[in-house]
């Protein structure tokens, strides 16, 4: 190392240590992004870059070819806009539900209750399941002759074809994804809750503060940095939702639960011939949206640290 330091000089030495990580970032992050950009400005169904002709903004023009952006049916890529609209509705609803339920579960699991360890495991268990297994399990529960309708019939109620109606299918899409991932966020929030000093709560108890007041004036403010991390992770994860819904509803009924990632997958991989260019253009737009969210999170976390 000292020989190398003599050759490069002390100011260049940090780069030597950074080099392995820089190479990893270059090959596994930046290069795929560059390839994605290349595919988005080239055409044909060929995979080899050398066989793909340059078409410039053709794929983007196809995506943005609309008479009225608020009405998907006036767009030539109507499914892209439907999927985008669905994602814009799905993400906020799912994130609010996810954080709400995960926070509630974390607060409950933070208390001195019997079988706390067991319940923590129960809440975390779905996270360990494969998304396809989760979707197939819920499909078995929700289908026309599924377990849920079996219970309803047994109770003397009319069965409901849950996945046939857009609204109920959307509800179950949110429910299933929240059920499958809330355990992960519950564990993060639980760690955050346990890092809050006990003496603050004891002081509040001495002041006869109500539980609600303790929660809103102590727990929430002190949990804010963790909540922020959970919020951003949750948003990114929510935008990327694909596997569970693809198996559960296939984006249906119609296109009611088709999210942006399913659109990208179908255009790029499920249809023949594969339209890699259009899929790359759509995924680049998705990447830009996620980048904006990440930037927003960095800004918010900086503000919360300074404020």
């Amino acid at each position: 190392m000292t020989g190398l330091q003599k050759i490069l000089g002390i100011r260049r030495m940090p780069w030597v240590f950074l080099l392995p990580n820089l190479l990893a970032v270059l090959f596994f992050s930046l290069l795929p992004v560059a390839i994605n950009i290349f595919y988005s400005i080239t055409g044909s169904d060929r995979l080899y870059p050398s066989e793909r002709p340059f078409i410039g903004s053709g794929n983007y023009e196809t995506l943005f070819d609309c008479t009225n952006y608020l009405d998907a049916s006036t767009c030539s890529s109507d499914l892209f806009w439907r999927a985008l609209r669905n994602s814009l509705v799905f993400v906020p609803i799912q994130v609010i539900c996810m954080i709400g339920v995960a926070l509630l579960a974390a607060v409950c699991l933070n208390r001195e209750i019997r079988g706390r360890g067991f319940f923590r495991a129960v809440f975390f268990f779905p996270v360990m399941l494969s998304p396809v297994v989760v979707a197939l399990t819920w499909q078995w529960i929700l289908q026309r002759n599924g377990a849920l309708n079996g219970i309803l019939t047994w109770l003397g109620l009319s069965p409901v074809n849950w996945l046939v109606f857009p609204n109920t299918a959307f509800f179950w899409s949110v429910f299933v994804t929240v059920w499958a991932h809330m355990g992960f966020y519950t564990i993060i929030l639980l760690a955050g809750l346990q890092s809050i000093p006990r003496d603050v709560y004891e002081a509040a108890k001495m002041d006869s503060a109500t539980n609600w007041r303790v929660f809103t004036r102590i727990t929430l403010p002190l949990l804010k940095p963790v909540l922020l991390v959970v919020f951003v992770l949750c948003v990114i994860r929510s935008v990327q939702t694909f596997d569970e819904l693809y198996v559960l509803t296939g984006g249906g009924p119609g296109s009611a639960t088709m999210l942006i990632v399913q659109y990208i997958y179908e255009v790029g991989f499920a249809v023949q011939p594969r339209n890699f260019g259009l899929a790359a253009a759509a995924s680049l737009l998705l990447g830009v949206v996620l980048l904006i969210f990440t930037g927003l999170q960095l800004r918010l976390s900086r503000n919360s640290q300074h404020g």
Binding site: G43, S44, D45, R46, L47, Y48, P53, I55, T62, S73, S76, D78, L79, R82, Q143, R144, N145, N161, L163, V164, P166, A169, Y246, T249, G250, G251, G252, P253, G254, S255, A256, T257, M258, Q262, E266, A270, V271, Q272, P273, N275, G277, L278
Partner: protein
Amino acid sequence: MKRTRIGLWAASTLLAATALTGIAQAQELTVLCDDIGFGCLTMDPVVKRYESENPGVKVKLETVPYQSLVESLPVQLESGEGPDAAIITDLGGLSRYYLDLTPYVNAANFEKEYSQTLQWLRGSNPTSKAINGMPTTLTVNGAYVNLTLFEQAGVPVPKEGATWAEWAEATRKVAKATNTEYAMEMDRSGHRFASLAISYGAELVDDQGKPVIDKGLKDAVEQFVAWHKDGTMPMDLWGAVGGATHRELFSDFLNAKTVLYFGGSWTLSQMDKEVGDLFDWQVSPAPCGPSSCTVMPGGGALVGFKHTKQPEAVGKLIDYIAQSKNNAEIVSAAVEIPAAKSLIENGVTYPGASERTQQSLSTFIAQIPKMAPAAYRFQGWRYQRAMMNALTTRISQVLNSELEVDAALDRVKQDVELAIKAAGQ
């Protein structure tokens, strides 16, 4: 020293010569196939016989899951790698990788036996006369009918030549009388829907390889939507699912929750195993539309690939398998519908299959001569999958009132044209 050098030179020359002779003698071919039906398992005895008749040729049958043939093989081929030959089902989609076997096989025999299906392997080139492979077996779409329910309802089973509308009427009566949930169901598949559409007069694709949206297709879509709206068909399959997702609910037929299920010949063995004597069933002849009584064909083919270093050996192997006696032996063991004309005409015996399966296979085979030219043309079209995906996606949108029928058909055309444009750039 000099003698040693000469000795070394001689020895190395001898070694090299031996190695080269060995290479020339031992030709190893790799064939990729799955173990379902006409595949590695059923081809093995014939291939072993070929090896014994052709010393120096070694055929390695590499068994892979069907999913690998669909997803991994195209990627291997795209990168110029992969086996010498394979049994594939995306007949038109992989056409640019096929080896033209014409110089190595009995071309006249191939033309005679596979005149209709060879075109499927020629992709987007309608003028091509190449022999790109050996169509192995045919699959046929068809309707499975629960005879027990018909009997309980006292409704006569529609005879051969009955229309889709008559089948719908009869199955509705049966469903009502027997309190069965649904009258008819159909796989959520563009391929299955194409059977109905072509029988209603849809062309789907013209001679130039351009998508066709016509009155026949519109009528079929409108009828199909009407059956969903009036409860003849359930919304679970076509209504509840979106995008290009394939979905089937054959379990509904197995559990007697539907009177008629429109699926395909590949579910025969499942029927045989799972239904047994629970209820009486049959495969019905193709329901008719205003235009024809056709169903869609499908199937697989044994193809060689351009990148092989031993095209002649590949060709000879495929030619051997295509010989009537060998082909019949494999088809018989696979319990599938043959693609070869002579086997269809003369029939194949299936010693391992039950009587009902044999009967059903005969019914399926009897549909082959009735298939409309449009069905064959659509099956061999390079953009068939693009159109099938567009049909499933857009029909589901119509069922959910997201689109009107006319708008949906415009979208189908637009989707396929975009696919053609993207591929042709």
